[in-house]
Amino acid sequence: MNILKFFTAGSVDDGKSTLIGRLLYDTDSILADQLEALQTSNRKNDDGTIDLAILTDGLRAEREQGITIDVAYKYFQTEKRKFIIADTPGHIQYTRNMVTGASTASLAIILIDARNGVVEQTIRHSYLVSLLGIKHVVVAVNKMDMMDYSETVFDAIKEKYKALAQNLNLKDVSYIPVSALKGDNIVQKSERMAWFEGESLLHFLEQVDTDLQDKTTQARMPVQWVIRPQTDQLHDYRGYAGRVLSGTFKVNDRITVLPAGTNSTISKIEFFGNELSQAQAGQSVVIHLKDNIDISRGDTIVNSSALPIESKLIEADLCWMDGRALDSSITYLLQHNSKTTKCKISEILYKVDINTLEKHATEEFRLNDIGRVIVKTADALAFDLYGDNKANGSAILIDARTNLTVGALMFRASVE
């Protein structure tokens, strides 16, 4: 059994929280005391049934305003799979929260209200999915109950979205007509939409492949910590602890340590005293090398046959996440895996109007703005392009004055 992380994009009006509530409710993932809390709450649907949306709104302000402000993580499992849902807000002023929730997801559910079809926020959400490189997209056309479960309505929305998906280069898109409120095609296939030949949403989620099954040749492990017990028995023990970001390392592999560029060979891969023959993406291990070389936190071990890009000048997509606007005159901190270096945004190439997808030249970059910039770093980074390798192609910007995380970076090219 493995884990699928997904996120939901849509607004309260699209029934997003109701959809998540429905998934939890219909998979028996709501426990008795939570249900009791639900029933004693005074939020009810018009027909007197429980408002499932309450399950996901965790903060007092959210319950008061009936909106989702921050990402909430929800957990459920079936016999086939475990699921982690990042329930993200849909309003444009919370774009940064959606980017946060989407950053760790391998699937996105885009909710469309069947009454309204593809609207401005559908474009915005789909753009974010494309920007963040979410592998799978499920377009859930919701509120089919309010459109007489009409196949024609569904088909029209599907056609409209296909054009958008092509425009955004979304490759793996599936379409499911649902009613979160009534439970149609969520867990069980709906008899009221017998014309629909696909699977229910849950069934689809149970089967789709996950990011961990990615096979890339780019073996990368940032060193987080050097284990040196320095005891009498383990006098010469020197293990490099980290989590394999991508690819696979095997014993006897030739590796390169960056940024130094030193080569060596893996002598041993260890995990809690057990020797492993290999370590693959996602595993936290300890790597030993044949040569005694100087390695510390912030260095990256990579396989010598597939080296990453090394550069101090990088073209990247930037999502700005702070109330203070970007200031290209000041130095920020850039955190790329276990490495932190100083940087400046040396140029803003353009900003994207995420409702229309138009690009504009700009000097300004404010909260929730997304666009393309040139980052100039103090130390060279050993990175891959985000499109090839998300884990080694992403970084955050930190404002050293406030210590806040102010930007999300996705590396797109090295600037010569």
């Binding site: 493995n2 008795a32 903060l59 921050d70 475990k82 961990l212 017990p229 790329h336 884990a391």
Partner: protein, 301 residues
């Protein structure tokens, strides 16, 4: 060696180890908050996996309410001796003696809330800049919103509206002097995941997690262990029952469930079928819908 079969427990474990190593790499003086409960016991095993054969780069810190189950303290001391790591104890009794905390009165008196005072004092005294805790997002809806690296101001307060975005697996541990970060490596685990992990890893637990005969009283519809720490009166009828505890806190705020599960397999079976969530056995969450959110804003774990 056969191809490594990376299942969900391996994935959760690897994520938690990654987080623990980030704490080690990013902070000067971290600490691991150890309550003697199954979640912090799991954290200790994860720390062993992250740092052995080296020492932990942090001490264990126990905020001792003085109202403990003696089984928990016995377990704690044996475990610390076994793993050979440093234990720091912050005493709620001492905070009371020094006048920093005031004992609650009345029938539902508990030292649970007083722990916050002692915790913040202990953080201050030892200048801890990061405190690792065993909280999980599935426990409670305010926790479902909390980051893995959760920044607290110098009063220990969590501000849910000013949380830093937390992207990919990159954790920003930068803080100003006086602030500290609460770190939750098992945020993404569920109660059942923890139990399955404990079974897989064959981790010993304090005996109160398993069914045993105990004198109990019923308080607010829940079974509480009869103890000198509970303000009991003539209305409280002590009955001996076979019970176990799903969560281990202060004796005055942790409710028992009736159970025959004396083996871990039985417990897992029982939880899988259970219709009451884990925090339902905590009196402290029953106060209001926003009880946990309010306590976290005040500096609670």
């Amino acid at each position: 060696m056969s191809e490594y079969n990376f299942d969900y427990l391996d994935e959760l474990e690897a994520e938690a180890i990654h987080i623990l190593r980030e704490v080690a790499g990013q902070f000067e003086k971290p600490a691991l908050l150890f309550s003697g409960g199954k979640d912090s016991i799991t954290l200790v095993r994860l720390a062993e996996k992250a740092f052995r054969p080296g020492k932990f780069p942090f001490p264990l810190v126990h905020i001792d309410t003085g109202h403990n189950f003696e089984e928990t303290i016995k377990y704690r001391d044996e475990m610390v001796a076994r793993i050979g790591e440093k234990l720091i104890i912050g005493s709620v009794q001492q905070s009371i003696n020094e006048g920093k905390a005031i004992e609650q009165t009345g029938k539902n008196a508990s030292r649970n809330a007083l722990q916050t005072v002692t915790l913040l004092d202990t953080i201050l005294e030892h200048k801890f800049d990061a405190c690792i805790g065993g909280a999980r997002r599935d426990e409670e809806k305010a926790r479902a919103k909390e980051r893995i690296f959760s920044v607290r101001d110098e009063f220990g307060q969590w501000d849910p509206k000013r949380q830093r975005p937390e992207l990919w697996n990159i954790y920003n541990g930068k803080i100003h002097k006086g602030e500290n970060v609460r770190v939750f490596p098992i945020s993404n685990w569920t109660e059942l995941d923890v139990w399955n992990y404990i079974r897989r890893e064959n981790i010993a637990l304090p005996s109160i997690y398993f069914a045993h005969q105990r004198d109990c009283i019923t308080r607010n519809g829940q079974l509480m262990a009869a103890s000198p720490f509970l303000n009991m009166d003539d209305d409280d009828i002590v009955v001996s029952k076979k019970v176990r505890f799903r969560t281990v806190g202060d004796m005055s705020c942790t409710a028992a469930v009736e159970s025959d599960a004396d083996l871990i397999d039985d417990i897992i079976q029982e939880i899988s079928e259970s219709k009451i969530s884990e925090r339902g056995a905590r009196m402290d969450d029953k106060v209001s819908e926003a009880a946990m959110e309010d306590r976290k804003k005040g500096g609670y774990f």
